[in-house]
């Protein structure tokens, strides 16, 4: 039977894919044609969504963006194809390891998952000792994809060697950073991949229980993950005897309640325990005293979803990609004011400018790029003069930035950098958990200080700099500690805007 693929991904839905699916079903029956409509994940080329793929002789031809009222023409062959989907330059230039199956398969079809390499890694891990599993992850060079970049294998080793009556694997799916959507996409497009990664983490550490903490703003991801967990349990991927290994691992989906700070691992653990999502001081590390005070692995969705391919293809294969200490690939999310927005998975090391100008095609408005915020609300604004910075952990750090969860938000020349700096402080004030003073009070004073600058009081600039230093050094977690990145990068890279305020202009 003819196969037609149309994403069920939230971004595709937001652009009308459900309406297109309904129109397709109607049009097919009106034409008396039989075809199977498969609701896949997104291929990540969001500017082409809703992207319809029609399979012909084993090749999937892409059409997009398709609106519901174009469906008749599409079936009548009146719409020109974009070519085989995997030959579209944006797609062809990627190294898809973590996202290899996303958009390719029916996300909730376990057989389809297995036919495309799924569960191979788990089967291999199940035959290995816990120490060997940990050694494989260390050898892969995988670092925490949530932003901190801590070596995943080392974290697992700590939990593996810790004693405790019960250990846990907690997946941080509280993806709150603006400009990031990779966690959402993989949960909606390849949920078994995350489940498989968590099961391997369980085997490695002796943890038999897991949680996926998903933010409430992601209803589609929650729905797909819940269904996938039920299927995995029914098929013996989860449960008392994982893939016949004799070892147990099971997991639950938990839903956040609209607090950005719960993306910080210790406040996430408090939230999971049913407390206020307040940050905990470290030490003790969650690896030793995490959920319910017991040894706990807390990993980002992307870290865990990358585990299966490491075990399927071997640590050496994964580590052969990348730059310096940034091994492997990163699913970079290109967003904001861009011609071609979406998910682009590539080996670490691509210069930022190539991503913005060549891959994303510059701004959607056609105006010059003014700044690019990398790493979410806590990431620095990088001006075009820093576009030769390779996309990797240490390289960005060296330029006063961070890659965070690899969200890239592009702004054109209409961006008001003073207002963007103010927004960073305002956001921190709204979302601060309130535990430490530099963040709770500092963010409010930061808003007021930037307002003074905006009103023309240039004497407030050193005060803002000083406040940022205090927040950076004195905050308990990355919320207060990293809010100075966007603020100071805006001030340092666009100093004229902070001085070209109404009062100054009047004086000239």
């Amino acid at each position: 039977m003819k196969k037609i693929y149309l994403p069920r991904d939230a971004a595709a839905k937001a652009l009308g894919s459900d309406e297109v699916a309904a129109a397709l079903a109607d049009a097919l029956s009106a034409r008396g044609e039989e075809a199977q409509i498969i609701r896949n994940g997104s291929r990540g080329m969001i500017w082409l969504e809703p992207l319809v793929e029609i399979e012909e002789n084993g090749t999937r031809f892409a059409y997009g963006p398709i609106a519901a009222d174009q469906v008749e023409d599409l079936l009548a062959g009146k719409i020109k194809t974009l070519g085989p989907v995997e030959e579209i330059p944006f797609f062809a230039k990627q190294n898809r390891l973590t996202f290899a199956r996303c958009g390719l398969i029916d996300p909730l079809n376990l057989a389809d998952y297995g036919a495309h390499g799924g569960l191979t890694g788990l089967a291999r891990a199940a035959a290995m000792s816990a120490a060997d599993i940990v050694a494989e992850v260390i050898a892969s060079g995988l670092r925490g994809r949530g932003g901190a970049g801590f070596p995943t294998g080392i974290k697992w080793k700590t939990v593996s060697e810790a004693a405790g009556p019960q250990k846990y694997i907690v997946c941080n799916a509280d993806e709150g950073d603006s400009g990031t959507f990779a966690d959402r996409m993989i949960m909606e497009g390849d949920p078994f991949c995350l489940i498989e990664g968590m099961a391997i983490a369980g085997l490695a550490t002796g943890a038999t229980r897991g949680f996926v903490y998903i933010r409430s703003e992601y209803p589609d991801a929650i729905e797909v993950m819940e269904e996938a967990v039920n299927i995995a349990r029914a098929e013996g991927v989860l449960g008392a005897d994982v893939l016949g290994s004799g070892k147990a691992f099971d997991l639950e989906i938990r839903v956040g309640a609209g607090a950005y700070v719960c993306g910080e691992e210790t406040s996430l653990l408090n939230s999971l325990e049913g407390k206020r999502g307040v940050v905990r001081a470290k030490p003790p590390l969650p690896a030793l005293e995490g959920f319910m005070g017991r040894p706990t692995v807390v990993n980002n969705v992307l870290s865990l979803a990358t585990i299966p391919v490491i075990f399927e293809k071997g640590a050496a294969h994964y580590a052969s990609f990348g730059l310096g200490r940034s091994k492997g690939t990163m699913p970079i999310q290109i967003a904001g004011n861009v011609a071609r927005g979406g998910l682009f998975e590539t080996a670490f090391g691509m210069p930022l400018g190539e991503l913005v100008n060549d891959i994303a095609g510059g701004t959607a408005t056609g105006c010059p790029v003014k700044a690019v915020q990398v790493g979410g609300p806590l990431g620095a604004y990088m001006p075009p003069s820093k576009f030769d910075t390779p996309f990797a952990y240490e390289e960005f750090d060296g330029q006063g930035g961070l890659i965070g969860h690899a969200g890239v938000v592009v702004f054109d020349d209409s961006a008001d950098m003073v207002q963007m700096a103010r927004f960073a402080m305002e956001f921190c004030a709204v979302e601060s958990c309130g535990k430490c003073t530099p963040c709770r009070i500092g963010a409010r004073r930061g808003v007021e200080t930037i307002d003074r600058i905006a009103a023309g009081d240039a004497t407030a600039i050193p005060l803002l700099t000083d406040l940022c230093e205090t927040m950076k050094d004195g905050s308990l977690c990355a919320l207060g500690g990293f809010t100075p990145y966007p603020v100071m990068s805006a001030l340092q890279n666009f100093p004229d805007e902070f001085r070209a305020t109404p009062a100054n202009q009047a004086a000239e």
């Binding site: 971004a11 937001a14 709150g176 603006s178 400009g179 956040g256 309640a257 904001g336 938000v409 956001f427």
Partner: protein, 158 residues
């Protein structure tokens, strides 16, 4: 859509609370379930939860008031959420929300006089590559515009 619970009774609340007691860290799932059922966390649920979990009223209040999602009063019938985060700002999100609020004559979080609609800010819906983003009840709107949002509102007679 929460059903009408003008006759809210303690049996309903107790049943929901009890259903979650076997979980590890049951409080958030419990509060979500109560809000799903009643549209908000009823005052009457508090002593029942405190008893069941052996926590104080102050601790429970601390949790309920910490999270943006939990409401303690009935909400408007429909909610429109507009993203205020950076990626949406990069493509005119602020101007869009200003125009929508002006069109409706509302401020952030202020329910319409007839109690049928409230417009709330949201920080990121994960639709950053098709911004600006909005969500009306459960329905996501990508590349949101005044026209798209007006059309969505008019479909339910708002």
């Amino acid at each position: 859509m929460p059903r009408d619970h003008s006759d809210t009774n303690n049996q309903d609340i107790t049943a929901i609370v009890m259903r979650h007691l076997g979980m590890e860290g049951p409080l958030l799932p419990m509060l979500h379930a109560l809000q799903e059922e009643f549209g908000y966390i009823p005052e009457g649920a508090r002593p029942i939860i405190c008893d069941a979990l052996n926590i104080t009223g102050a601790e429970l209040h601390g949790v309920i008031s910490f999270y943006h999602d939990f409401r303690t009063t009935p909400s408007a019938l429909h909610s429109l959420k507009i993203c205020r985060a950076e990626a949406c700002q990069a493509v005119g999100g602020n101007a869009l929300s200003d125009r929508i609020l002006a069109m409706l004559g509302l401020d952030w979080g202020q329910a319409r006089a007839d109690g049928k609609l409230v417009v709330e800010p949201v920080y990121c819906l994960g639709l950053c590559a098709c911004a600006p983003a909005a969500m009306f009840d459960g329905k996501l709107i990508g590349r949101a515009s005044e026209e798209k949002i007006s059309k969505t509102l008019s479909e339910v007679g708002l």
